[in-house]
């Protein structure tokens, strides 16, 4: 049997080093109110000087019982709730949930709806990555990229607002398709945005990619091997940065991703720098997908034939999509009534956060910040 203790939290494991001076280990409580824990994550650090001996994450400060709420709402009523989990990528959450219920009902969204879904989801991926980049850079001490990314993310949110009236928790899709037809000038807006944002990504890279301090701070920090990633169930850009070319959009295409031509960027070393590069390239790939999609949105209905009252047959379904943070899965159990019997959300942030301990052990306190940032967690999704 392989030794799996290395995957466990090392807060209590390990003997204090007593070979030299009798130095005390320092237990530091990072969070829940801390500028760099992206919300209300609390990390208990065991330190030897500045070196991290072990960590333990204390989560649940933002627990709202989304899964319990789902059991007491109808299928359609639960739809807006999923936006509140990963609130920086609300569109992706909605897409995953709608597709899962559609699968349970055994219906297909019409092609036009699928195109709109892909465009909005990829825009949302861009927005999520931009927010990640800004906050991650801020954690490492570069304060300027934050404002640049927020400036550009604003343009995406404007498109969302024009499309469905909401900027953050969009509730853009409905079970069976989309509720809203694209507004007048939607395609022009998206094309204009593509033109606007392409040089901007270069601008972020100019500030960071070759910056000596940035490279020194991120290269070799929080490295995790592909084997460990898979063992820990880590998905998304973190997994890809470790060299595993795995993206659900390609592996098990959903919506109509199979129609688009894009690449899966991967890294080599699985360190923070690679994760940064993977996400930067992913942003470019997203732009590519949007560019292909926006040119050929077909005419037609945007809503499939969905019964007024959604009552799926008894059964279970698991459907997952590639959210900006990794595999976002919905496991829905139907008992034949109008309300789901059980909805389980497989949150990527929650599972990815588990890798934190392995990634930071033996590194310095400053690296913990960099690694939390690079995992790109959203506490709303971790705690649900």
């Amino acid at each position: 049997m392989p030794d799996t203790t290395k995957y466990l939290s090392h807060l209590e494991l390990g003997e204090p080093d007593q070979t030299f001076l009798d130095t005390n280990e320092l237990i530091i409580n990072m969070g829940p109110q801390h500028p760099a824990t992206h919300g209300v994550l609390r990390v208990i650090l065991k330190l030897d000087g500045e070196k991290v001996l072990g960590t333990e994450c204390v989560i649940g400060y933002l627990h709202r019982g989304v899964e319990k709420i789902a059991e007491n709402r109808t299928y359609a009523m639960f739809n807006p709730y999923v936006d509140r989990m990963d609130y920086v990528a609300a569109v992706s959450n909605g897409l995953g949930y709608c597709e899962a219920v559609e699968k349970l009902l055994n219906i297909q969204a019409p092609p036009r709806a699928n195109y709109i879904r892909v465009i909005l989801t990829e825009l949302n991926r861009l927005a999520s990555h931009m927010l990640w980049l800004g906050t991650h850079a801020l954690d490492i001490g570069a304060i300027t990229p934050l404002f640049y990314t927020f400036r550009d993310r604003e343009e995406i949110l404007k498109i969302f607002e024009k499309y469905c009236g909401a900027r953050l928790t969009t509730h853009a899709f409905r079970i069976g398709g989309c509720l809203y037809e694209t507004y007048e000038g939607f395609e022009q807006d998206v094309t204009k945005f593509l033109k606007f944002v392409t040089p901007k990504i270069g601008e972020y890279e100019e500030l960071l990619t070759t910056n000596r301090i940035w490279v020194e701070r991120t290269r070799g920090v929080g490295a995790i091997s592909a084997k460990d990633c898979i063992a820990l169930g880590v998905t998304g850009p973190v997994l890809r940065a470790s060299g595993v070319k795995w993206d659900l959009r390609k592996a098990q295409p959903y919506a109509n991703y199979a129609e688009f031509d894009f690449e899966i960027p991967t890294g080599k070393h699985g360190d923070t720098y690679d994760r940064y590069m993977v996400r930067m390239q992913e942003m470019r790939q997203s732009l590519r997908i949007i560019e292909q999609a926006v040119g050929k949105i077909p005419e037609g209905p945007i809503m499939a034939k969905v019964p007024k009252v959604i009552k799926p047959a008894v059964g279970e379904i698991y459907h997952s999509i590639e959210a900006p943070k990794g595999e976002l899965g919905y496991f829905i159990v139907s008992d034949g009534s109008t309300q789901p019997y059980r909805v389980r959300v497989r949150p990527p942030s929650f599972v990815n956060l588990q890798a934190l301990d392995l990634m930071v052990r033996g590194q310095l306190v400053a690296d913990v910040i960099a690694v939390i940032g690079t995992l790109d967690i959203v506490l709303g999704e971790v705690d649900r």
Binding site: F20, T23, N24
Partner: protein, 169 residues
Amino acid sequence: MQPVATTFFFYLLSGLAVFSGVLVITRRNPVHSALSLIVTLLALAGLYLMLYAPFVAGVQIILYAGGIMVLFLFVIMLVSIERAQKEETFSKLWLVGIVAAVALGGLFLGMFEKGQAMFPEHVLKLPEESNTQQIAVLLYGNYMFAFEIASLLLLVAIIGAVVMAKKRI
């Protein structure tokens, strides 16, 4: 430049030095002791200034107060204060301590009494401006050999420290 209120400053500084020196050995909290020691060192720097040795005073501040004592504090801060406070301030060797203090005091007094004739009534006042140059000439001219030996000794100590620390890694 004419010195102002020399006697006043002399007694002020020496009083401060003695007072904080006493604090160094009586404080239970090691950080307080270290801080008192810094005050002592600064008072000494003031005394050097009064002796028209500004360079020595400056070096005293930079090296002792700004450098060495910071490293002292660095170590002391990491030591658990609770344990240090429980330990007895004066060890059982206080008898030896008193004997040593008396002997040292006697030596000083003896020197003061007997040696008064050796010192001239008025020390030759060097101009303040040339103090630094004087030191340089002495260190790098007359006592060149001793100076180099001392620096070699320090180098050995540094290498020793590195080697000892390296072992642990």
